[in-house]
Symmetry: C2
Subunit: 330 residues, 2 copies
């Protein structure tokens, strides 16, 4: 079993690589080769075990995608993308990386198969709930149309359409998964509009102050990084026969308000931690967040065995276990 991860240096790419090394098998076979690809080296460069190779390349370079397929990976995880804010600020770069890069990969798989009819890998594509755009019904059904309000969302929605058509044609066996907002994101605070959802937990858990720019009634759709990795692994293993031509799935998530998030922090880490959250309303962030989805019907994914957390307490405990060696450091 040979696995290829494109976008391996990102937060989820790193966690996925670790999980595959730890697990050692996928789809019932031992993993004997794991090829990690990104435009930048992971930092710090990990000491990978034997069988793991890192390749620095850019899918949008002519021939790059074909080169990665030379020894016919059985499973391809395509997670490479520039993020939403970058794609919005840099129109051409966004389409080049997120659309042309994806298409270059899909085309390389198709062309490899056309010379060798038996090559038809499982291809997992990470999409996002931002393929949807307001106005929304209270619960967004699985059959809701994709009307993205960002170029990033547009590029992901196009990726989903290509994934379905290439799968229908038999060029690969594709599964697209629309990830909820991943919380608690490890690492430093960033300027993403969604950053506060993580930072109001992450910073207080290490005794630092965090800023809350919106009201406590703001409601959104969450899953932990650990769930995200479980989603991605499961997408590689599910029987796609039941999916028909509809190859993209909205992942389950926790529908919760910021107030519920803070209550959970208080329960898990105490009042002192929750008191480290400073209210500093930011009308710009509030107006961006207002257009975001709040609740999905993910029953199609749930029927296929995908599961997310049921409470923010759980999400916080996972962060403490996976990122803080099991202890609140306040």
């Amino acid at each position: 079993m040979h696995i290829l991860i494109i976008g391996a240096a990102g937060m989820l790419g790193r966690k996925l690589s670790d999980a595959l090394v730890r697990r050692g098998h996928l789809r019932g076979s031992d993993i004997d080769k794991l090829t990690l690809v990104d435009v930048v080296e992971p930092s710090p460069a990990p000491a990978w075990p034997e069988g793991v190779t890192f390749i620095r390349t850019d899918l949008t370079r002519p021939g790059a995608a074909a080169g990665l397929l030379e020894d016919a990976p059985d499973v391809i995880f395509h997670m490479a993308a520039i993020v939403s804010a970058d794609a919005e600020a840099n129109f051409e770069k966004g389409y080049q990386v997120n659309l042309d890069g994806t298409r270059a990969l899909f085309e390389a798989v198709r062309l490899k198969g056309s010379g060798n009819g038996s090559y038809r890998p499982r291809l997992v594509f990470t999409s996002s709930i931002v393929v949807f755009g307001e106005p929304f019904p209270e619960t967004i059904p699985d059959s809701f149309f994709t009307t993205p309000l960002t170029s990033y969302g547009t590029q992901k929605a196009i990726g989903e359409l290509l994934l379905a058509d290439y799968s229908r044609r038999g060029f690969f066996d594709g599964v697209g998964i629309r990830l909820p907002t991943i919380t608690v994101r490890p690492g430093k605070p960033n300027k993403a509009a969604s950053g506060f959802f993580s930072s109001i937990l992450r910073e207080p858990l290490v005794g630092q102050e965090a800023v809350l720019p919106v009201g406590e009634d703001v409601r959104h759709w969450f899953a932990s990084p650990r769930s995200a990795i479980q989603f991605i692994l499961r997408a590689a293993e599910i029987d796609t026969g039941a999916m028909g031509a509809r190859r993209s799935l909205t992942m389950p998530g926790l529908c919760a308000t910021v107030g519920e998030e803070i209550e959970a922090l208080r329960r898990v880490a105490g009042k002192a931690a929750a008191d480290l959250i400073r209210r500093e309303p930011d009308p710009i962030i509030a107006s961006i967040i207002k257009g975001w989805p709040q609740r999905f019907d993910a029953s199609r994914a749930e029927a296929l065995g995908f599961q997310a957390e049921k409470s923010f307490d759980e999400i916080i405990r996972i962060h403490i276990e996976d990122e803080l060696d099991g202890a609140v450091q306040s």
Copy 2:
């Protein structure tokens, strides 16, 4: 007012060109220039009045799209595409013409505007109800997701997403319209699976036999060529302010069965005409048609003033008026 029609040699392109010449104005201004573009010359080549130019070019050729925008057309009708069966049989050609050609045009408009901030034409894109794929609810709502089951439908759905993103960004003012199955299509019988919907009316109306390959209970969504031209013209004129970021509209149509179609033929042209329809069941065509949509909720388009026929009697009378000089020739 300068108008550019890309795909002008096709059936609808020809009718749209004629309608614009006859009408002489659009969006409240006189048309002083009409540029018709296609990969083939219209045949027979019409004697166009002054101000009308035909250019033979291919959007997928580097620089072709930019060349067409040199004198900044105010309204662009983008109707060029290879048809469904061709796009299904020729994967690369379909993506090249229907996706890359469309993107080349959109990019050329964007780049022209980036040198001249005031250039923001109205761009009308003809899409299709085949952006939807079964299973369907009984009536397909405007908010139903696009899950095409053909590469052509995929390419049209991607065109709609690009149209919305380029419009949101202010690069042009786009309107996408999803056309019903156009009936009665003038011309010769063809091999399209949908061909019989037209031929069982068109042939009997000139005293010729036609073959019906499916049962009379088959239900579908129709509009006349005359309605299609009205849709396209209206799409050039509507106030897009009310559309928000949702730039594509399912056009109204007539929901009717083949049996109702034949009843209308009998009423309008008599029993002798209806008797020219020969039943010759074709299980392959029947199985293709089974996956087609039957009924849409087009209330969003109706609220914007789009209207289709209310009966097949009307559709047949329009064919007799527009294509048969007003008389049944049986």
